[in-house]
């Protein structure tokens, strides 16, 4: 034990861990502020419970050698895909989508959050086995397949936001796997054409969100209402904010889904630009430490795993922050570690656990 007490702080990336603990604590505080006094007042204590479960999951993942997980990643991935297939076939619709599996005690889990973990492991394993400067066609196809399968299954639920969260992962894998400039250009062109084409496949409410994004003042009370109210909440926070539990926009119910998608706007209202800066800095720190862990990782697989996960966390955070202030359209992407949601929080801590596991085993001679 005494050896562990000496070794642990040296081998656990404390800055990375602390940054995420602070973000989680901020999340619990904001869930409390946005839900107290409403009939959802129990959500903050539930979020605290999820945080505990997430930390436990992270501890378990740190204790397992990530190289074993990489080795078994095709099996883990296959098993997790089966869950998504099961959902698509037999899932029951909750709030319009077959995204959830009901558990006891009113809890439910969203498997697509956890599939991200196995997909990240599989991508890292694929990249570990192809160390050329530019990835082979086979590797590119493997990356596309590894991400494409869950995306299609999640789109079937249907959950556009959930499916979109897989794209940063695929782009990170392609970027670090090595893709030539002409392929990037092709990817952008194909993406633009598919994006334009998929407009016709979108549901009317999804189109509304994009229209609203393009002109928020167009519909004052309709779909643009959310975006406008979020901007007012953020702006009215000023430099120092209105104070915790004192945001009129969020507490009077002007902010939509204020404990999940728009929790950052509530934070911006109550804690001001200082709070916004602090939280953004924490995400910056997470990314920087992710890069550092990847640089120091003992093998290519560990480096790739850490990059995919830390970039995934940061991109989701940046997209959510941009969406809150109206720079990006509302897509249902939540703020990692902060937004209310058990599956999301536990999966995020699972990602953190994998990164810490890579850091823990960075010294070859242990």
């Amino acid at each position: 034990m005494s050896r562990l007490a000496v070794v642990l702080p040296r081998r656990i990336d404390l800055i990375f861990l602390l940054a995420l603990v602070v973000l989680t604590a901020v999340g619990v505080a904001m869930v409390y502020s946005t839900t107290s006094g409403t009939f959802r007042a129990d959500l903050s204590s539930r979020q605290l419970l999820f945080a505990g479960l997430g930390l436990a999951a992270a501890a378990v993942l740190v204790s397992i050698d990530y190289r074993i997980l990489l080795q078994y990643s095709p099996w883990l991935y296959g098993a997790s895909l089966m869950v998504l297939v099961y959902l698509a076939l037999f899932g029951s619709r909750i709030a319009g989508a077959k995204s959830w599996i009901r558990l006891w005690g009113g809890f439910q889990i969203q498997p697509s959050e956890f599939v991200k973990l196995s997909a990240a492991l599989l991508l890292a394993w694929v990249l570990e086995n192809d160390d050329r400067t530019y990835a082979s066609g086979k590797t590119i196809a493997a990356i596309a397949g590894a991400v494409g399968a869950p995306v299609v299954l999640i789109l079937l639920q249907p959950d556009l936001g959930g499916a979109l969260t897989y794209f940063p992962m695929a782009l990170t894998a392609l970027f670090f796997g090595g893709l030539r400039a002409r392929w990037w250009i092709l990817l952008i062109v194909v993406g633009a054409v598919l994006g334009g084409g998929s407009w016709f496949l979108l549901k009317e409410y999804q189109k509304d969100r994009i229209r609203t994004f393009l002109d928020p003042n167009l519909a004052a009370q309709g779909a643009g209402y959310q975006v406008r109210q979020a901007r007012i909440a953020i702006g009215s926070g000023g430099i120092a904010g209105k104070g915790w539990m004192k945001g009129s926009q969020s507490r009077l119910g002007f902010l939509p889904v204020r404990h999940t998608d728009f929790i950052f706007a509530a934070l911006a209202e109550e804690w001001g630009f200082l709070g916004v800066s602090g939280v953004l800095a924490l995400y910056g720190l997470v990314l920087a430490r992710g890069f550092a862990i990847a640089r120091d990782a003992r093998d290519r697989g560990g480096a790739m795993l850490t990059l995919i996960l830390s970039i995934n966390i940061t991109v989701e955070a940046l997209v959510n922050v941009a969406m809150n202030v109206g720079v990006l359209p509302t897509t249902g992407i939540t703020l990692p570690f902060v937004s209310y949601g058990g599956s999301s929080l536990i999966a995020c801590w699972g990602m953190a656990g994998l990164c810490l596991s890579v850091a823990y085993r960075r010294f070859v001679n242990v």
Binding site: F39, E128, F176, A220, G235, S236, G238, V276, L280, F291
Partner: protein, 628 residues
């Protein structure tokens, strides 16, 4: 997987460096955006947040008026006050409900139930906690408005039926929309709103409802409205003019003040319903507010079932009022109207004795109708058989829906061999034909069907009109009018002389001594009709009928039209336990005919028992011009 492969990290490190730069750019850009929004434009947004508390209040469209054919209002709207709860203004829901329950002297749980019901709604949509507040309650709530900005009193319009129970069954009533109606009327009605539940109010819900609007306010932190952001005006419902003539309706209602039964008057040429009474009835005003449990159980426990619509939902034996249609079957067979049957007060068929209500001697067809001789119709019915009687009944629209523009109509029963086999699973017994020939046995009709069938007798071309209450719909704003469009016209195929023979008999019923309704004749009106009495108990001594308790007394029918030439009105009166059609039903029919014909032709002498001031400046009836 060699060691060297794992250690070749230069491309990865280069890419890491590039991505780090990209990340810096994105982070800096987001810092910049939030700097602009929060620091540079912070005051501007802070002002908006302070002032900008939007509140959207739905404005229910005024429901369309319902008028009688002369433009007199039967259903209107008056201001009423509703209590709304804005949940998003509520920090302590329990405390708020406790406060309002105490203020209004209600149970907190009732309010909680209403809040629960709206739980799935957005929290900026108010919950309607209470409707029809008194002015004192409104005052009490307004006085505490500063402490409780979550409660708002909304002024809206309430339905009011000026004449209370008059034409209650025709008008129908409003009631809170049910969950199945919410699905059916999706988007056009909000939970808690009132929609037509019966009668015309339900049949023409879409026409009357209009579409609701909304007012969006900016309110300050004390709940005071500071500005109106947006106002979508409601579109009022269309005005609905009914075919009902309020004056005739009231004459009939007055007659039924202490009676149970139904009366219907219609224009035989168009099917326009001039009077529609089902007595007793419930004041529809009762349903525009919350009906107390006591009131509700009183309605349900009333032995006369005031919620039943006796005009089109209750089925009765037609009794002797059925005889004109048997007469049609007789003449259709080619039997001469002059052929005589001897009535000795009773006759034996299939070994059983059937009684007549009198001793009529030798009677031909018109006389048989005039004196309502059962023996004549027993004899003829036996000759024709049940299927020919059924064919005649069907020709006059019995046994199927009349097509009136109200729902829940009943079709009745016209028995035949086929009917017996399919419904009773055994063949028709020929002995049953004897009583079926005088409208007893399984024959069941609604008063409305009777009126429609008599319209076919009244019309020289035998036309069988579709009875309806809708006359004209008029758009409140544009003045655009919708008139009733009758469905495909049906008619009874009268051979030459057949109708005239039956009408001669019906004319004698009222106008020749010995006719069963001679007492109700009105000189110069030429009312033609037929009485009927329906036995409630089987065997009895008719001489002692007046000694029977009321619920065992016979039902009385009178069905007829006037005048004999070019008839303008058909009247059917049915009085439950009225003993005789001649005494209980015919007098009202005579009054209605007299009143209506006097309106059309002011020279007609007044009917007995009706004191009416001259029909001077009233709007001329529209009926005549609306054939089609």
């Amino acid at each position: 997987m060699t060691e060297s492969a794992r250690e070749d990290r230069r491309p990865v490190l280069v890419r890491l460096g590039r991505l780090a730069i990209g990340a810096w750019v994105v982070f800096t850009a987001l810092f910049g955006v939030y700097w602009i929004e929060q620091v540079l434009r912070g005051d501007e947004f802070a002002r908006q947040a302070e002032n900008n508390r939007e509140r959207s209040v739905p404005v229910t469209a005024p429901r369309g008026l319902i008028l009688d054919r002369n433009g007199t209002a039967m259903a209107e709207n008056e201001p009423s006050f509703a209590l709304l709860l804005y949940r998003r203004e509520t920090l302590d829901l329990d405390g708020s409900l406790q406060f309002i329950a105490g203020l209004l002297g209600h149970s907190r749980d009732d309010f909680l139930k209403k809040v629960e019901r709206d739980r799935t709604n957005y929290d900026f949509v108010p919950v309607v906690l209470e409707e029809n507040l008194t002015l004192a309650e409104v005052g009490a709530i307004q006085a505490r408005a500063l402490e409780h900005p979550e409660f708002v009193v909304q002024i809206s319009k309430r339905r009011i039926y000026k004449n209370g129970t008059v034409a209650a069954h025709a008008l129908g009533q409003l009631g809170e929309v049910t969950s199945s109606q919410l699905v059916k009327l999706s988007g056009r009605v909000r939970p808690g709103e009132a929609v037509g539940q019966k009668g015309v109010e339900a049949a023409y819900q879409d026409l009357l409802a209009g579409s609701s609007g909304a007012r969006t306010f900016i309110i300050d932190s004390y709940g005071r409205e500071t500005a109106e952001l947006e106002r979508v005006e409601p579109v009022p419902g269309n005005t609905l003019t009914l075919t009902i003539d309020l004056e005739l309706q009231q004459i009939a209602e007055a007659y039924f003040a202490n009676r149970v039964g139904a009366a219907i008057a219609l224009d035989p040429r168009t099917g326009e319903i001039l009077a529609f009474v089902s007595a007793p009835s419930v004041d529809p005003n009762l349903f525009t507010r919350r009906v107390s449990r006591k009131e509700w159980s009183e309605i349900l426990e009333n032995p006369n079932h005031p919620l039943n619509d006796r005009v089109l939902q209750n089925l009765y034996s037609p009794g002797s009022a059925w005889k004109p249609f048997v007469a049609y079957a007789i003449l259709k067979r080619g039997i001469q109207p002059g052929e005589r049957v001897f009535c000795s007060g009773a006759a034996t068929f299939y070994g059983r004795s059937f009684r007549c209500h009198g001793v009529h001697g030798s009677v031909d067809l018109p006389t048989a109708l005039q004196v309502s001789c059962d023996v004549y119709f027993y004899t003829m019915g036996k000759r024709l058989g049940i299927d020919e009687l059924a064919e005649a009944g069907h020709a006059f629209g019995f046994g199927r829906l009349t097509g009136i523009d109200l729902s829940h109509e009943k079709a009745g029963i016209v028995p035949s061999n086929e009917w017996s086999l399919s419904v009773r699973k055994h063949p028709w017994y020929p002995g049953e034909t004897i009583s079926a020939a005088i409208g007893q046995g399984p024959v069941l009709v609604s008063p409305l069907q009777m009126a429609r069938a008599f319209a076919a007798l009244a019309n020289t071309d035998g036309a069988l009109p579709t009875p309806h209450l809708f006359h004209i719909g008029e758009n409140f704003r544009s003045g655009e009018r919708f008139i009733y469009r009758p469905p495909v016209r049906e008619s009874v195929p009268f051979a030459p002389g057949v109708r005239e023979t039956i009408v001669e008999g019906l004319w004698r019923v009222v106008n020749v001594p010995g006719g069963t309704a001679y007492a109700s004749r009105v000189a110069g009106l030429d009312i033609c009709g037929k009485t009927g009495s329906v036995q409630v108990i089987g065997q009895k001594d008719t001489k002692k009928a007046h000694l029977l308790p009321n619920e065992l007394k016979d039902h009385g029918w009178f069905a007829g039209f006037a005048p004999r030439n070019n008839p303008k009105i058909v009247v059917v009166v049915f009085v439950e336990h009225g003993e005789h059609g001649s005494s209980a039903a015919a007098p009202l029919a005579a009054r209605l005919c007299a009143a209506w014909l006097q309106k059309n032709r002011p020279a007609v002498p007044e009917a007995p028992g009706i004191a009416r001031a001259g029909a001077g400046p009233e709007t001329p009836p529209v009926g005549a011009g609306n054939g089609g």
